[in-house]
């Protein structure tokens, strides 16, 4: 009896396997936990030897909330969507949010997500106070920054491989209003973009930007830079922002939709929609943090073959022109992407496999084609040459030798993981591919 005989990440690269939906995680089988499946690649997919993942999304109860201190403890399957629905109207928000609210707390911890405020606030793991884990031997254990610290640092960013995350405790933050004051700016090329992004980071708690990675030559990397902060009460309306109704992308699109011409048209339109050089004003937090959440199942745009996201971080030591050189590798290969997001990152966190490091993060959505592997290889070789790394939560195509060369912290992670799970009960398709786990 199976619900479905295949599972995929957000990139829709399917593998054989099935998801078990459980309300009570304390009786979960020994298998990888998976939240809302928003990691793009194979992070939340089962290995072939145990083709089972436990879907945690029904384990979504709030355990307690301290309304004075803002300390929240909840079951790992609670979604950020649900959390925002409950707490944003009351003036509380998570210290760090990724670019979609369709993620679970457990997933946020496992990927050690970062957001537009990384340069100020770091990753989600740096804010956690406690995690409750069930380990390979069945014992349930609490860990935190000051308790079983090794296990904690391996679990944050550990992609679910150290044990099953049952509960998550973190402080929410008071926000002055549920509105964002945003300034956005059209930028002519990649060098100007990088300079302005660094400048913006000094004055704004949240920054992000989009660039047109198809334009070449003088306009290479032209884009739109966005800066934001929570609006103060005298700036914002008293009304709570109304969340726009969702639309659902209705079917798997034919590949034609993703033709180079279409991507070019999209990029051209997106750039010139921002006609004035600079715009300022109030925006609602859903549009600001989660611009793509309005279209449910938008990954179907990428058709039968799906997509991958390539996200890497280029360290400051690579020089100010690293982003330009990266784009050159991409455009030489003819890589086309609807979305290219560049964001500056603050210092690396102590979590063993945490993605960001001081530098610049670049993320590209790429339609999967015959040459995708070759494109990812070329980008990885560049990233490796400048001392950067890729983000596991997005990855499906990186070769293990590239990953090992980029990730000097891997051995330490594997050592701690091995201590708590010597039999490797918790494996993913990704850990088999990249960490050398037996399949």
């Amino acid at each position: 009896m199976s619900v479905s005989d295949r599972v995929a990440g957000w990139g829709r690269q399917f593998v054989a396997g099935r998801e078990v939906l459980l309300e009570d995680l304390s009786h979960a089988p020994k298998a990888l936990f998976r939240g809302l499946g928003r990691s793009y690649g194979d992070s939340s997919l089962p290995p072939t030897s145990n083709p089972l993942v436990v879907n945690t999304t029904r384990a979504n109860r709030i355990v307690r909330f301290d309304g004075d201190a803002g300390l929240l403890r909840a079951e790992a399957g609670l979604s950020l969507y649900d959390l925002n629905r409950v707490f944003l109207p009351r003036g509380w928000f998570v210290p760090v949010t990724p670019g979609t609210q369709f993620v679970t707390l457990g997933g946020m911890v496992a990927a050690d997500v970062h957001g537009k405020n990384h340069h100020v606030d770091g990753c989600i793991g740096q804010h956690l106070t406690r995690l409750e884990l069930r380990l390979a031997d069945g014992q349930v254990l609490e860990c935190g920054p000051d308790l079983e610290r090794e296990l904690f640092l391996a679990t944050v960013s550990g992609m679910g491989l150290t044990g099953q995350i049952l509960e998550v405790e973190l402080p929410l933050r008071r926000i002055p209003t549920p509105w964002i004051w945003q300034e956005s700016e059209r930028v002519e090329d990649i060098d100007e973009y990088v300079t302005k992004l660094k400048e913006a980071a000094e004055h704004w708690p949240m920054t992000v930007g989009w660039i047109d990675c198809l334009s070449r030559g003088a306009h290479m990397g032209r884009g739109i830079l966005m800066k934001g902060r929570w609006a103060q009460s005298h700036e914002a309306p008293t009304a709570f922002p109304r969340e726009l109704p969702n639309v659902r992308f209705p079917f798997q699109a034919p590949e034609l939709v993703l033709s180079r011409l279409a991507v070019q048209a999209f990029n051209f339109g997106y750039y010139w929609k921002h006609l004035p050089r600079k715009k300022t004003g109030l925006v609602d937090p859903f549009a600001f943090f989660y611009p793509l959440d309005f279209v449910k199942d938008w990954n179907l745009v990428y058709g039968r073959r799906g997509l991958t996201q390539y996200q890497c971080v280029l360290p400051d030591s690579a020089g100010p022109d690293a982003a330009r050189r990266f784009l050159e590798v991409l455009t030489q290969r003819g890589g086309a992407s609807f979305l290219c997001v560049i964001k500056d990152c603050g210092p690396e966190s102590a979590a063993y496999l945490s993605f960001p490091m001081k530098g610049m993060s670049v993320a590209l959505d790429i339609a999967v084609r015959d040459d995708t592997q070759a494109l990812v290889d070329a980008l990885n070789e560049f990233v490796l040459s400048v001392g950067g790394r890729i983000y596991l939560a997005k990855d499906h195509f990186t070769r293990p030798e590239h990953f090992r060369a980029m990730e000097k912290r891997l051995d330490r992670f594997l050592e701690v993981r091995h201590k708590w799970d010597p039999q490797l009960c918790f494996k993913s398709a990704q850990s088999v591919r990249l960490f050398g786990d037996p399949s």
Partner: protein, 250 residues
Amino acid sequence: MSAGKKVVVLGATKGMGRAIARRLVERGDSVALLGRDAEDLERSSADLRARGAPGVKLSTAWCDLEQPSSFRPALDGAETALGGLDVVVVTAAMFGTQEQLESDPAFAQKVLTVDFANTVVFCEEARKKLLGRGGGTLCVFSSVAGDRARKPVVMYGAAKAGLSAYLEGLDLKFRSQGLVTVCVKPGFVKTGMTEGLQEPPFAGEPDEVAQVVIEGIDRGTRVVYAPPIWRAVMTAVRALPRFVMRRVGF
């Protein structure tokens, strides 16, 4: 009817009951949670406290559909804790696949007893209590499985058909006295109860079902299909001649 009601939910810790209880407390209704696992009840109560509007009352009481002696004390306790009673919702039930029920007569008897006889007995207690207070709403989860005999749900469907008939009878006899009966017929909903089953088209999420059910309670709708598409699906299935039903597998 407006918010601020006093509602008992039997089965409030899981699946659709959980989703309904959340929507109720968010809009300001007070809820008494009935269930058979004290720790689970406490966890759900804490969840609802964190989500609920200010001033919402919450209480828990032990109640097990396998033990009819637990029914009256649980309802009495809930009424006292809430300071009244306007609505009783029953989402609790047991499920077994036709194969499980055929191969294990003791299990079959348990499912049939819980889903029909004991649910009716619980409803009788609730009915008396609500009528004694001058009226109220009794909202009970039956199933689309009770609408037409089908091969995969021969026994479960029979129990639910009986329950649907009972609820219709209550409506006929007691509506004039102020008892509003809402019979909910969920189609396939992705919850712990349906875990492991092949997912059919139009499978619903607990939260969308909860929204439809609460609208049904507010309006006093006699029969609520949730998700609503199942009304059309079951109309079509009921229209199929028996020789067709013998051949199809659903």
